[in-house]
Symmetry: C2
Subunit: 447 residues, 2 copies
């Protein structure tokens, strides 16, 4: 049977005729989530073939509308903030949740920036003329319906919608319930602008419902939803990866390592370590573990511990690292196996001394989430061996782990950082929101 059997006629009737098998698992066949997904399926077929000009016009209309109707979003946001305050939410989280006219202008500017990026759809990935004269082309096409499950910041709502529209996909947005009013207001502005530009409003939809059940239904909507991208905490991502029958792109968990080699530039190593850990500790490309070659420990660790202490970082060290604590400014706690596995996302770092580059690689293989690992070395052969043996989305040589980022990589935009091996790995830009198809052109060719 077709995975697209429900995409033919109007969404409501087709969902009624051919609900996905999984709708039998407790959810009503015509649940609000499945109806929304059915409408997205139809909208996806509508926007997939559109040329760049139509999509860019819609994006520019969205940017203008966001600025013109900023007051609506700010008013809705005030409701979310009042609820969050009443629930005793921390000021850090409330700050992330907050929309101001300035922030909305910045969001609109991001949308205009996405409009200015090249359209990935239609790009010829490979092409050749076969020996029999057939012309073969592999071209990029939209994925179809993309579901994004995310937390906290309402700017992701507009960001994700803009990237999906630009790449010809319909998007289902499932944000945090704490930002529901803000997200609803933003999506209404986006949909009005999209419809005003002549595109299907259902290209952009908020998934109805604030409970976890709506996430569960989305994960079971195979055939209606082409891919789910969870963005957020490790537990959200693990749940989606394990329970979804819709294909998933796993994102963001970053237990990143900095390895300081036997042959190294000490000043460079200290600078890269401190930058990787402390420049912005709350993000996935921040370093969480330091590994130091034993031959460089005496010269490096006293300086490193002081520099970390000055940056406000607490060290969780193995026995050998703790041997350097005395006389240092640093707080050095005893590390356990849990520390090697932890993505602190805070001013904390685990640290160990290793006997060789290969031992560093073994530690990374065992504990890393496969996001980003850096080596600081003056040795060309060590750099080559480390980059060959370490299997993570990004391996940095004499550079901070913080460079693993779609903006830094020059992609112009980023929908997330994939830590899986299928489809996309590392920062995902617009091309990663596409699939491909082959066009075979002949003159009556048969076999």
């Amino acid at each position: 049977m077709s995975t697209h059997s429900v995409s033919a006629s109007t969404p409501a009737s087709s969902v009624a005729e051919a609900p996905p098998a999984s709708s039998a698992d407790g959810a009503a066949p015509l649940s609000a989530v499945l109806q929304t997904a059915g409408r997205a399926r139809v909208a996806a077929d509508g926007i997939a073939p559109l040329p760049r000009a139509a999509k860019d016009a819609a994006l520019l209309a969205v940017a203008d509308a966001l600025e013109a109707r900023a007051a609506e979003a700010v008013a809705a946001n005030a409701e979310d903030i009042a609820r969050a305050r009443a629930a005793g939410t921390s000021e850090t989280v409330i700050d992330r949740l907050t929309l101001t006219p300035e922030r909305i202008r910045a969001i609109a500017a991001d949308v205009r920036h996405v409009a200015a990026l090249p359209d990935p759809v239609g790009e010829v990935v490979r092409g050749s003329t076969l020996p029999n004269g057939i012309d073969l082309r592999q071209i990029r096409v939209p994925l179809g319906v993309v579901g994004i499950i995310y937390e906290a910041r309402p700017n992701v709502t507009v960001d994700a919608a803009a990237l999906c529209l630009k790449s010809g996909n319909a998007v289902l947005l499932r944000g945090s319930s704490s930002a529901y009013a803000s997200n609803a207001a933003l999506v209404e502005v986006v949909r009005d602008a999209v419809a005003g530009a002549g595109l299907p409003a259902d290209s952009v939809q908020l998934v109805p419902g604030e409970s976890r059940d709506s996430v569960r239904e989305l994960m079971r909507a195979r055939g209606l939803v082409d891919v789910l991208i969870p963005r957020g905490g490790a537990s959200l991502i693990r749940t989606v990866v394990e329970e979804s029958t819709v294909p998933v792109i796993e994102t963001g968990t970053g237990n990143c390592h900095v390895y300081v080699d036997a042959e190294t530039d000490l000043d460079m190593a200290v600078a890269i370590l401190v930058n990787s850990k402390a420049q912005r500790p709350s993000v996935c490309n921040a370093a969480e573990t330091l590994l130091v070659h034993r031959d460089t420990a005496d010269a490096f660790l006293p300086r490193a511990l002081d520099a970390l202490a000055e940056a406000g970082v607490t060290v969780h060290g193995d026995e050998r690292v703790r041997g350097y604590a005395e006389g240092s400014k640093a707080t050095v706690l005893a590390a356990t196996d849990e520390d090697w596995a932890t993505e602190y996302l805070s001013y904390d770092i685990a640290a160990a001394v290793v006997d060789s580059l290969d031992d560093a690689v073994a530690h990374i293989r065992r504990w890393s989430s496969g996001h980003t690992e850096a080596i600081v070395t003056t040795s060309q052969s060590a750099a080559r061996r480390f980059t060959r043996l370490v299997d993570s989305t990004t391996v940095a040589v004499n550079a901070s782990t913080r460079f693993t980022d779609g903006g830094q990589f020059g992609f112009g935009a980023e929908i997330g950082i994939s830590t899986q091996k299928l489809h996309a790995r590392g920062p995902m830009g617009l091309p990663e929101l596409t699939s491909t198809k082959y066009i075979v052109t002949g003159d009556g060719h048969t076999r």
Copy 2:
């Protein structure tokens, strides 16, 4: 937590220390399947960094060993055949199962052909120097551990092993229980040759156990197995797609369409239709449904029905097609919705008259499995509209559906035909058995 946390030390102890969460669902933590997968994980780390020369030498040793030890495989195969005969298996299936010295020579030749193909690993997919002077390269790397679940033909065993080895992956082979003795004999020859060439023997392993339970365990071995590729019948593929927590590449179901446009070359249309349907009806790129524009039905259908009848094809037609049955040589049965959904894989074809190209597209969207659809037209605008609106792995213009094939596309080899949108779509060659990683090289760069 790392998805690779079990890959660090020896396989048995690491599986014991950190069994995948799913091993709690009834299977013993140290089951034979998980131990096998653990050994594959270790072998994968061993072969991933190997240069092409080492892998090619192993492949050539495999080819030589297959020929030298052909008698062992033929003897084991005789056991499988005797069992199949006793079970009343059809001669067609027994023919597919049979190994002869000639067939083994052909398999060995295929392995030598794979050795001669370019190594996808290390290919620079994109590269640039960033504005800050950092050198960025995205390179192909092996996926890691690839599980192949397949039916019947034992040649797939060697084929899949060769493609995985060439692309630096360890492979777990789960063939049909009816070919167990043949597969075991072939895998023993391959492993001995691989080990003799200095590569880890566990790069190639048969999944132990002949029951469905071993498939189920494989599907739950997330963290040990990087991707599962089911090759075989629709029900096997559906089960794997729905139940696996390991990422899956869906392959092979082909409900393919031939659409004959209002403006068309009738001779060409007849030739493409008959070739698409009848040149080899049992394969996934054979056509299963004919759609004819109403304006061309009078001229085309009488000729088409006769040509199909001469090729031995039974037609399952809608009411309008049945109107042309009288006076034709063809058997035209009444089609139901089930016919639109059926992948016959036999000398049968469903047929309908449509009112427009867009109606043909709507029919395809509703019923196609998204494998291959062909249009036969003399109109440039019809060809453009059809290729833009039809979203299948392959869209053929004035060419048979039978060209959707890795060999035909010039890939030199094929591990299957993906009908999903993530990672790979259409015929999969060696590059589709890889992931990528980014290498960031600086001179002490920080943010």
